[in-house]
Assembly symmetry: C2
Amino acid sequence: MTPSMSVSEVLESALYVQDLSAAEQFYTRILGLTLYSKLDGRHVFLRCGQRMVLLFNAKATAVSAGGANDAPVHGATGPGHLAFAVPLSEIDQWKEHLVEHGVEIEKEIHWEGCRSLYFRDPSNNSVEITSPLLWRIPEESILPPRAGPRPR
Amino acid sequence: MTPSMSVSEVLESALYVQDLSAAEQFYTRILGLTLYSKLDGRHVFLRCGQRMVLLFNAKATAVSAGGANDAPVHGATGPGHLAFAVPLSEIDQWKEHLVEHGVEIEKEIHWEGCRSLYFRDPSNNSVEITSPLLWRIPEESILPPRAGPRPR
């Protein structure tokens, strides 16, 4: 047997959406992710920091196109979940930002030493914004250094 | 309006599973994730590097327990997708490791300058192991430094 092995990090996270264009607008314009590539009717691939967020139309990914380089089929229905990391000190600013963009804060939970904002993307996926502190991950270990206080 | 804002990083990725125990065994023993916490019948939370992988029983998370600190409901059915990052130089060793643990490699795709292994978790989610190079992310920017060649 090979010795014990561990994958190093999560690289791609996927969500399934009904309307790819609406999802692209939501994740790029409101949450600030960067468009990496897209295929009309099938997917929108976004970069978030050092990771990828893949938005799929499950109706397209659940059937194989038969190509040699096609990834295996997958595709879920019903609301999924994804959480994004921000500095704890920016949660208030995020709340204001989301409300100003017409995003309803479905719930706000105060954890011990942390806070989470929960809201829905246009396909009803449950999206969360919180600090890595929620999982006892030091902010400096995954968040990029800030040049200073953000302009308001 | 608040100025343009961007979430910094993905923090939590979720998958839905039918058998939480089988999923826990698969992700901890074969892929090497670390158990963070669990709640029988509802979820298993795993740490992977500097991120969290949340495995949920959708039947439990799709209904609200009504608690003040309960996260909003979510829960998908059908195969989801998640990709893990490893060094490109370890893909061969991972292939051997998976096969030795009885995991069938559903597909192997050779990308330009990269490779991906695709296989299924016990709940039929499509899991991928690849290098961050797939997304033009330098390996050193997200993978922990290795002390040297891994023992075989």
